[in-house]
Symmetry: C3
Subunit: 358 residues, 3 copies
């Protein structure tokens, strides 16, 4: 299944090793040395593959799977068909992550230590041991790249930037005015630290206000492809540890995002807004500036948050309202138009006028 | 009209050659050797220019045009003023495309064969004949670039990628984990094949799930500037032949888009959604994950599709509903507020409360 | 406060120099030679700092500030606490801009004259005096870069482009088919001049229409990170002087934007729409094609403008309506669902049906 032009693959893993990796007791000694050749989806797994089941929607596929074994939760184990061994784990999707990482790895020169002669690394920069610096990278004065970090081709790193250890900076990224933690994963085309949208509009026209802050990114953070994270004006733009940001997201100056937040693609957060920990933002969400969003807040896709949201809040719509009210709005609109065709609507409004005139 | 800093221009084309190009009978032998100097809009064409008419909105401009001849449909031929020769064709806009291509071409070194010494092409990559590889391009191991393809400056192509013949990859693009058909046109800053937004959220925090799929792009596909097309997790992200994607569009992992689809700017499609053939998506549309969108579906700009859509469906709104119902919703809202000012609204709701209490 | 890894800082500025810079009379001769060490926010300014007050929201912070002096408007001067000197100016935010620029400057090699040997500058291009051309830049034939302009690393400039004096082009930008005025500030990853979304859809499938226009950008314009500005098809895409465009904005072919417009992040403007002067567009706004938007128009965030808007208009919503009506719509929806829970709604619609049947 996996295309070996892009991935390296272990030829096989013995079944007992797989059980050990998953922390599952070996179901039957006879199978301990069975060679498992890969991970596959329910519908195309062979009798040499491991498959997995974690979405009830695919129960029909599970019933027909040819897989040798199936990673599954206790609750769903009874759905695994005869001839396939259930491997019961508390979190099947997590187990899948473990197995994929064991079986496959990405081709290319990651992980090696290398400084391309076609890169321009300032003598006033520090690149620690074990880094891979690709072609056409520029690393300016005062930059610190900590050990084991990969920098892809055509990346530009401006003066004074610090990037933590074991980070992965994909090609064509620009980073300036930023201090980035360890294990960062900055995807291709992301822009970090440029001057935000700060200016004075007055009698003399538009005057730029020099932005003198920076971007602080915690540990284990991912920033999606072609995102834009502006630096702070006075004070900093902050992205907390373990947060995940999808592609094409805009984070304006002085925004603060907590830890373990998940932000889907094309969302935009206006200046100085603070977002707590463990928040979920759907795609194409807009959040106005200077707001305070609590912890564990959920904002549905395409919503427009224009007010503070308390911890635990769930909102939807533009302007965003409590998600239950948003559903009610939609039902209301649906019913209004279902029960009243154009002609009847006219009658309805005339009736209303009549009522009000009384 | 056309700025010769950017375009090459044929000095003139004889009128009979133009008629031949358009498949139109020569209206009058006297004009056969007339030198036509260019294509111009209705309002600024001179008596040496060809103009065209394909939008009824511009009938006033047509009536006053000074053009020598006007490309026009049969239906509108009577609108062409005396002194201008109507050139009747079934599809005037298509005829325009033919003439523009004949008159003008883009300046720069496209079409030549050249491997820049300032590019880094792996010895384990294959670059076929007639390719133009610009400066600061990196082409990694196992890459295949088929004949006649242009790669712009600062492009990064990762291991194993295949790009079909006569493709055009603009500057500053990143491509990895992808198999791209012929005649592709990938615009500047597009990101193809990066790891999607895939992770497990559980008791131990957030764990990444290695994405082991790829991106498959058909023939004659265009991808807009700064788009992001993530690779599949298990299985592939697919974009069908002849589809056109505008700028800043996000296509998540495992999305499948059919043939001849047209997707306007800033639209986002969440993971695993399947879109049929010949669909039209307006700008800033959002489509939720795991949906099935049929063939010939139209989704109006800024809509948010949260459910499957059958073939031929036309939807609008967020959440998206049938487009007629969306118009009705808008009319309903409009009437509700037109007929009831703030004070009256208060009366209206009191009245409702009264009714419900009865 | 300011991180000296990224910024140069004057050690101090004498208080009388600050007063001169602000055009404010020196409050007390004793303080004239006081050394002011920096600019800080109300809440963390020390007795050696200047602070500023321009947002009533922060009155509590002002009352407790430890700053030596506070830049403030006449109207708010009485709020400045004892022990802090009020520096009364007509526009405090503008005064802040003046002081920031005086105290701080960005680290790095801007402002110097330098042509990197790792750049590829065509012999048929003109780079005037005082320009800084960074590594891995390509400048094609016929390009003119006027004096004092900075071009960041990995920028690609295609044939014939003209960039005005004292402009700043950040890294990883692509510019083609464009004439850009002086003092331009093009942020990292912006794409200017690529072919727009122009094609004919007919019996023979999709045919591209060669775009033969350009992009014209006035003086003192800012284009945000990862924006996409397509060139004109026939005729030009135009951005007027002094306009400010935030990140990830899409401007389609033949759009014309006036002077002093402010366009927030992730907004998209479809082809051939004309926008007047001094317009404000919020974030994530969508504007349909072929519209005429007057001067001084305000379009609220996330709105979808589908019709022309007269000068001075203020609209919101998708589809956009007069902003007052949009507020009324929201109130109406809110009241409808507040006063009627699900059960009552059912009663409401039955009642309506009953009324209509009468």
């Amino acid at each position: 299944m996996v295309d070996t032009r892009f991935y390296n693959k272990r030829e096989y893993i013995l079944f007992d090793e797989i059980c050990t990796l998953l922390g599952v007791p070996l179901p039957d000694k006879c199978f301990s040395k069975r060679e498992i050749s890969g991970i596959a989806r329910l519908d195309n797994a062979t009798s040499a593959d491991i498959t997995f089941f974690h979405n009830a929607k695919y129960a029909a596929e599970l019933s027909k799977t040819q897989a040798f074994a199936c990673v599954v939760s206790k609750k769903n184990a009874h759905l695994v068909p005869e001839g396939t061994i259930p491997l019961i784990v508390p979190e099947p999707y997590l187990a899948l992550a473990v197995l994929l990482k064991e079986f496959y790895s990405i081709k290319g020169k990651r992980g090696e230590a290398y400084l391309s002669p076609k890169a321009n690394i300032s003598k006033l920069a520090v690149v620690e041991d074990g880094c891979y610096i690709s072609d056409y990278v520029t690393i300016a004065d005062g930059v610190i790249v900590k050990k084991g970090t990969f920098i892809g081709a055509n990346v530009t790193i401006l003066d004074g930037v610090e990037i933590g250890e074991n980070s992965h900076i994909e090609p064509n990224v620009t980073i300036g005015f930023a201090v980035i933690g360890k294990n960062a994963y900055i995807k291709t085309g992301a822009r970090i630290g440029q001057q935000g949208f700060g200016f004075h509009i007055g009698k003399a026209g538009i005057t730029d206000v020099l932005q003198v802050g920076k971007v602080i990114i915690g540990d284990d953070v991912q920033i999606g492809a072609n995102c834009t994270i502006d630096r702070g004006s006075m004070g900093d733009t902050i992205i907390g540890s373990h947060s995940r940001i999808d592609n094409l997201v805009h984070v304006a100056h002085n925004v603060e995002i907590g830890d373990y937040c998940v932000i889907a693609a094309q969302t935009g957060i206006a200046g100085s807004t603070k977002i707590g920990n463990q928040c979920f933002l759907g795609g194409q969400v807009g959040i106005a500036g200077h707001l305070v969003i609590g912890d564990k807040v959920t904002i549905a896709a395409q919503s427009g948050a224009m007010r503070d949201i308390e911890s635990g809040g769930k909102v939807a719509g533009s302007p965003a309202v409590n998600i239950l009210n948003w559903h009610r709005q939609n039902v209301t609109l649906k019913k209004l138009i279902e029960h009243n065709n154009q002609t009847k609507m006219r009658g309805f409004f005339e009736k209303l006028k009549f009522i009000f005139k009384k």
